[in-house]
């Protein structure tokens, strides 16, 4: 009996010993340990922040691009005294200990001004695709994220973009009913004469290091069309406060039996874009009852429509010069290049495009596939986020959907914080939807 007990105990002891030998505190060979790095997060305060007394409710979101994990924290108050001089002046927010990897950092705070006449306004900061590598156990690297005041105008805004098109009852896509809804979000009558819509030259799914980098001041475009008339001079198209405009592909009733009952009746649209061509293969529909947009520039002689999977950014605004000057002046021509590397080949690929100054832009919306915004195709000061209607690339469920701006029923205004992730929702498309 004693012998048996002794045997059992010794077996158990042996098992424990062996077991413990396997659970070693050291990292066994073959397993990769995650390295943590110290990162000093600083914010930069460029020009225009001199009269800011303090930054309150400083919300920081750190997004790990590789793992998809987010971590956020809030700093309640940063006072002017904490600012260190420099170019730009900086403030150290915090020292983070985070795993090595690729990160995006988003900041948002409320700036409280010295002058009581200025109401506190939202400020933002944005840093994309920053690599953090540990260079030693206690070595800290630092990064400065510059803050900016997003331009949140209350005039014309893009209220809805329907780019996916609709499905016929047979299940095939139907083309012709893409539209933009633009709303007067202010309290005064505005005039739509000369209002332009542009499609960005760069798209979400192709990220290259384009040179020269101009996004901070200008936006490269591949398509630009405008409402007839000259802004500031003509007053042919007044838009009441809260009223909307519909600008679409073909302004006809698409719901007839020979077309697509699943589509919409766009015959009452305000303008249609008509791509006139001498090529019979490119025969666009021009409804004589609906005025046409004036096309300023297109990259292709085919019938245009916004990209139906949602890869580009769209801007609206007014030209600062007349059409003729815009089309012929060198200031609006953009020649760019990027380095193409494939195997042993490394070449500079060159392209021509057009561009507009960001000061002409009233509102902008970036589109991307859900969770797949990788880089800024236009300046983040125009749109800090993105809206989506595709959950995956070639999403079969995207047809009939659009992105629409959210409505604040208390203030009776559309929400516009220049962050489409915050301002837009994915809905079933309806050009005549009534906001309530």
């Amino acid at each position: 009996m004693m012998k048996k007990l002794l045997k059992t105990i010794s077996v158990m002891a042996l098992a424990l010993l062996l077991g413990n030998a396997c659970t070693n505190d050291d990292v066994p060979s073959g397993k990769v340990s995650i390295k943590y790095a110290k990162l000093v997060l600083k914010i930069g305060l460029p020009q225009g922040f001199q009269d800011v007394d303090s930054l309150v409710a400083f919300h920081v979101k750190v997004h790990n691009v590789s793992t998809g994990r987010d971590s956020s924290f809030t700093v309640p108050n940063i006072a002017r005294e904490a600012v260190t001089e420099g170019n730009p002046p900086t403030v150290t927010l915090d020292t983070l200990t985070i795993a090595e990897g690729l990160y995006n950092v988003e900041l948002e705070a409320k700036a409280v001004y010295h002058s009581r006449l200025k109401t506190p306004s939202t400020v933002r900061g944005n840093l994309m695709n920053h690599t953090i590598v540990q260079n030693g156990a206690d070595v800290a690297s630092s990064v400065i994220v510059n803050l900016f005041s997003p331009n949140m105008d209350n005039g014309f805004v893009i209220a809805e973009i329907h780019a996916a098109r609709t499905l016929r009852p047979s299940g095939d896509p139907y083309t012709g009913d893409q539209y933009f809804r633009i709303t007067n979000n202010s309290d005064t009558v505005m005039y739509a004469d000369g209002l332009f819509i542009g499609e960005s030259a760069f798209q979400q799914m192709i990220h290259q290091n384009y040179k020269p980098y101009i996004l901070d001041k200008e936006t490269p475009l591949q398509y630009l069309t405008k409402v007839p008339g000259i802004h500031g001079k003509d007053k042919k198209y007044p838009v009441q406060p809260g009223a909307s405009l519909i600008i679409c592909d073909n302004a006809i009733d698409h719901t007839t039996a020979d077309r697509n009952p699943n589509s919409f009746d766009l015959s009452k649209a305000d303008w249609e874009w008509f791509d006139e061509s001498t090529n019979p293969r490119v025969t666009d529909i021009d409804n004589p009852a609906v005025p046409n947009m004036e096309r300023l520039y297109t990259y292709s002689r085919t019938i245009w429509g916004p990209h139906d999977r949602g890869f580009y950014a769209y801007v609206i605004g007014f030209l600062g010069v007349d059409s003729r000057t815009y089309l012929t002046d060198k200031a609006y021509q953009y020649d760019y290049s990027y380095r193409f590397v494939y195997g042993s080949t490394s070449k500079d690929m060159k392209f021509h495009a057009v561009k507009i100054p960001n000061t002409w832009i009233l509102d902008a919306v970036v589109l991307a596939i859900k969770d797949m915004k990788k880089w800024n195709v236009i300046s983040p000061t125009l749109d800090n986020g993105y809206a989506w209607f595709s959950e995956v690339d070639h999403d079969k469920n995207r047809y009939g959907k659009s992105v629409r701006r959210k409505y604040n029923s208390k203030t009776h205004k559309l929400i516009d914080t220049n962050d489409s992730q915050h301002d837009f929702e994915t809905v079933k498309a309806n050009p005549w939807y009534v906001f309530k």
Binding site: I252, T278, P280, T283, T298, R301, T328, S344, M349, H352
Partner: protein
């Protein structure tokens, strides 16, 4: 689609031996007649209901294309003459080619093309057991254009002059002007390839060695080029139409009309390509080495190919529209060089054949060595040397034009203007083969290719390129009856 192809060849040949004093001749002479034609009707479809809305094709019956008739005659003499202890062999030949059934307006009509071929070999007398020879040759080959080069189909250029849409389908109207273009190039000539080579050979017993150098060049190869020309058309202004006043489709006479011009290009075949090839080939084979009963063979080659267009070419401008100006309608660039490449490759093989006669077995191992390959694609023109405007006049393209809001689009983008060189690194593959003979009629082989390989990784632009080759196996049965 109805095709009734008919291919026929008729050939007659005679051969005889002759002797003139100390020269023995082996003479061959003959003639060949080739006739090819398709008697079918080609694509058959209702022209008002084409297969696809964007097609501009009109049907063309195959039997409307004239037949290919080529008549050739040839004569060759192989003369052997001993000169002291040496021997001189001269093989000289002549071949004439003529295309029949060609309309009189064509440059190739009624022309007789003569190709000469000469091969000369000088065999040296045996010296210390070495038998050597030197040979050289020169030859021409004329290539005739194909039927599609000579008789291309018409090109149809459709231009929309008026496009009026109405919500009432019966009131819609579209008016198209079509140009039917004949893109025949009657000046199309034959392409001629000239080649010469020199070879050196030395044998001793069962050792054989030879090395050859050749060079060939063709400067007038066939190429499809773009002919650019202005097309005049009318523009009808439909914006004046009042839909509520219509009682039917709008009449053209009621609309304001303006005359306009646009540029477009269509293809035709010209003699505009150059291909130059040169190379060195060598081969050495040993006798069976007694102890291991193995024969070693080493062969290898270096080749170089140069291809380029030999005439400047027009290209259509990009499809952009700046304001109301569709650049490709208004301007077309004329570029000096549109494509060129220079390729070189050097490979060699080491073959070991072991004979195990007692077992009737032959074991073979081959090492295929790929030493070097590179392709140079020098920069093609990105800036045009000239441009055509809608009057059809070609103007020189100057530096200032690169800033012109419309002409700047004629500077080609993408990789144009940059050289695209490509290099493949060396690698070696090893193959094995075993052949067994059964009696005199049957042989069975088993082979395993790419069993081993040596393909070192290399680094390019920060990327490591790793190559792998998968082995494959097979069996062969040979039956000799």
């Amino acid at each position: 689609m109805e095709g009734k192809p008919f291919y026929s060849t008729l050939r007659g040949e005679t051969e005889w031996l002759a002797r003139t004093s100390f020269i023995s001749h082996h003479i061959t002479a003959g003639g060949e007649f080739l006739l090819n034609k398709n008697y079918g009707r080609g694509q058959i479809f209702d022209i008002t209901k084409p297969l696809h809305a964007s097609t501009a094709r009109r049907p063309r019956a195959y039997k409307d294309i004239p037949a290919t008739d080529i008549l050739s005659f040839y004569a060759e003499d192989k003369a052997t003459m001993p000169i002291g202890k040496h021997q001189l062999t001269v093989m000289a030949g002549l071949r004439t080619t003529q295309m029949l059934n060609i309309p009189a307006s064509y440059a190739v009509h009624g022309k007789l093309f003569t190709d000469t071929r000469v091969n000369v070999q000088w065999d040296f007398p045996s010296f210390l057991g070495f038998k050597s020879f030197v040979s050289g040759g020169f030859g021409m080959m004329t290539k005739m254009p194909t039927v599609l080069d000579l008789y291309p189909d018409y090109v149809y250029k459709d231009i929309t002059e008026m496009n009026y849409w109405d919500v009432r389908p019966a009131y819609k109207r579209i008016h198209i002007r079509t140009y039917k273009l004949n893109q025949v190039n009657p000046d199309l000539r034959q392409a001629r390839n000239k080649k010469w080579e020199i070879r050196l050979g030395i044998d001793k017993g069962a050792h054989h060695f030879s090395v050859t150098y050749f060079h060939e060049d063709m400067k007038d190869g066939f190429r499809s080029t773009t002919t650019m020309r202005p097309f005049i058309y009318k523009r009808y202004d439909t914006s004046v139409i009042n839909p509520s006043a219509l009682t039917g489709p709008p009449s053209l006479a009621s609309l304001p009309v303006a005359t306009d011009t646009l540029l477009d290009g269509y293809g035709r075949t010209e003699n505009g390509s150059r291909i130059m090839k040169q190379g060195i080939e060598f081969q050495y084979s040993s006798p069976r080495i007694p102890v291991i009963q193995t024969r070693i063979t080493v062969n290898g080659a270096w080749f170089r190919t140069l291809y380029e267009n030999s005439i400047p070419l027009f290209r259509s401008a990009p499809n952009v529209v700046v304001g109301t100006v569709a650049i490709a309608d208004r301007y077309a660039g004329y570029y000096k060089s549109t494509d060129k490449y220079d390729k070189q490759i050097f490979t060699s093989n080491f073959i070991f054949d072991s004979y195990v006669d007692k077992l009737g077995l032959i074991l073979s191992a081959t090492a295929e060595c790929f030493w070097m390959s590179n392709t140079k694609r020098p920069a093609t023109s990105s800036v045009p040397m000239g441009y055509m405007d809608i009057t059809g006049t070609v103007h020189p393209y100057v530096e200032a034009d690169q800033s012109d809001p419309y002409l700047r689009w004629l500077v080609l983008t993408g990789t144009a203007g940059q050289d695209m060189d490509y290099r493949e690194r060396s690698y070696m593959l090893v193959n094995f083969k075993a052949t067994k003979r059964f009696g005199r009629h049957l042989s069975l082989s088993f082979f395993a290719d790419r069993v081993f390989y040596v393909a070192p990784d290399y680094e390019v632009n920060g990327f490591i390129v790793r190559r792998t080759f998968s082995p494959y196996f097979g069996m062969e049965i040979g039956l000799k009856i």
